[in-house]
């Protein structure tokens, strides 16, 4: 089966400094793929190149066989992006946020209304339909961002640090949603620095540091390889990336 995403020798450099320095990976259909790494490792830069928000400096990354270098618009129709930072429209209600976003994908209003209704139900947003965005809690905002990312029925869902700053209850709710989408066969790319989250959700993952992939495999494989099976993924992560502090 052809992979949904394929990155080959992917690079992003600013002068001599490379944020992403030649990485290769593939995301298979239906899997949840983790992109892990400390701050400044190149996760966000990789995601931005995948979402065609940043031009690549070298190599290529493809989605369903389409290259970001050649067909950015066609790729963007296939993506659902749940960003790290909240970028909802503060002037619109919950419902209107979904509708306005659906237009960007040429979805007709009647269809968009139906999809928005389903997503509002699924993400438990119905109590807050007409509330201004700034009144929503952090967890609700994330749920709305996730609902928004699904309005175009994407082939690939990108979750960029989906639970950063959330309380344990909201975090668990997001995890349940991700598991549910996986059961439905949605291919997902997850970036996180909560290693527990990756261990729980990801079928396969890569650990990046300083713009390069330093390890890859399934969570149990990595634990077995580096710790002889005794320990958790966070211990593996710290063993590989060291304990010194990172700045963005």
């Amino acid at each position: 089966m052809t992979p949904v995403v394929k990155a080959s020798a992917l690079r992003k450099c600013y002068g001599d400094l490379c944020a992403v320095d030649g990485i290769d990976f593939e995301i298979n259909r239906g899997e949840c793929f983790g992109l892990l790494g400390p701050n400044g490792a190149g996760k966000t830069t990789t995601v931005k190149m995948l979402t065609c928000a940043l031009p690549v400096s070298g190599g290529d990354i493809t989605v369903e066989g389409l290259s970001v270098n050649a067909d950015p618009r066609a790729i963007k129709y296939l993506l659902g992006v749940c960003p790290q930072e909240v970028n909802l429209d503060p002037d619109f209600s919950v419902f209107k946020n979904l509708i306005v976003y659906s237009r960007y994908f040429d979805i007709p209003y009647a269809e968009a209304k139906e999809r928005a209704g389903e997503l509002i139900e699924r993400f438990h947003l119905h109590d807050k339909l007409e509330r201004p965005i700034e009144d929503l809690s952090g967890g609700l905002k994330k749920r709305l961002l996730m609902a928004r990312a699904l309005i175009n029925r994407p082939k690939l869902l990108i979750l960029d640090e989906p639970t950063t700053g959330l309380d344990p209850q909201s975090r668990r709710q997001i995890w349940d949603e991700v598991r549910g989408m996986k059961r439905n066969g949605l291919t997902t790319l997850l970036t996180t620095h909560y290693i527990e989250e990756a261990e729980l959700l990801c079928d396969r993952l890569v650990i990046v540091d300083a713009g390069r992939i330093i390890e890859q495999g399934t969570p149990p494989e990595l634990i077995k390889k580096h710790l002889g099976g005794d320990g958790n993924l966070e211990d593996v992560f710290l063993k590989l990336t060291g304990r010194h502090l990172r700045d963005e």
Binding site: A53, R73, N87, D89, Y101, Y104, F105, N152
Partner: protein
């Protein structure tokens, strides 16, 4: 950056961005609709009736104008400028830096150029709306001749595009929102005062008149005033040409500059 592709990357999707911004304006319509309608009434009271009591007539270019009738088209032109330039200058800056709107939209099928063209179109729409609203008010005061004043509507759309492009360019140049005080002080305010809006430039020193000729608002005011007095002549085509060329240049320059800020 791929230069020839800049225009090629603009598609019908720019209208989605336009609609998003218009939808926001409709949510907050009270603050968007009432000021353009009330502002000119204030100006007419203050300048037309207050100051007009002392300055009844204006001599300009060998012609005598009633003061209120002289300043009325100036108000229309100023309204077009203010409402379009501030929409993109502060509005686009907020959407870029604080609301992260562009970041959200750039991952959808819209290109950076679609987003920015949509920004300029919605800024221009505000300028057109303000121009039409003020024209309506001065018409009610009997200060606009018809049908010649209808020329002001397409002119307001052009002026809107021009000043919305300038606004977007300033927003793209400013590292912080406070930096936008500079173009207000150096560009917007001098034009507001010295473009023949509220008094003719005939009595000004030569260097002031030369500078005024460079300011786009001067040309917008000239055509608008000719329209309200039913004095449209062929030599105004030079003013129109200046506005058209400057608009084309600023559309390109502003989209290019802001794209560089969106995509590094």
């Amino acid at each position: 950056m791929n230069r020839p592709a800049l225009l090629g990357n603009i598609s019908y999707r720019a209208w989605y961005m336009w609609r998003r911004n218009v939808d926001v304006s409709l949510v907050t319509w009270k603050t968007n609709v009432i000021p353009p309608l009330l502002e000119p009434v204030l100006y007419i009271l203050a300048f037309g009736i207050g100051l007009g009591a002392y300055v009844q007539e204006i001599n300009s270019g060998g012609r005598v104008y009633g003061y209120l009738a002289f300043m009325a088209p100036g108000m229309v032109a100023v309204g077009i400028m203010f409402h379009s330039i501030f929409d993109t200058m502060y509005g686009a800056f907020v959407r870029l830096r604080y609301q992260k709107t562009f970041e959200a939209v750039i991952t959808t099928p819209l290109s950076a150029e679609d987003i920015l063209a949509g920004e300029i179109l919605s800024g221009a729409t505000k300028g057109l709306f303000a121009g039409a609203a003020i024209l309506l008010i001065i018409t009610l005061f009997g200060l606009a001749a018809y049908p010649s004043s209808l020329v002001i509507l397409p002119l307001a759309a052009l002026g809107g595009l021009l000043f919305a492009s300038f606004g977007l360019w300033f927003a793209a140049l400013a590292p912080y929102i406070d930096n936008l005080n500079l173009p207000v002080f150096l560009f917007v305010n001098p034009m507001f005062l010295f473009s023949g809006t509220f008094f003719p430039l005939d009595g000004m020193p030569r260097w002031v008149r030369l500078l005024a000729e460079l300011m786009p608002l001067t040309h917008l005011v000239d055509i608008t005033r000719a329209a309200t007095f039913n004095l449209l002549t062929a030599d105004l085509l030079w003013d129109l040409l200046y506005l058209l060329v400057l608009t084309a240049v600023m559309l390109y320059v502003s989209i290019r500059k802001m794209k560089g800020r969106l995509i590094k």
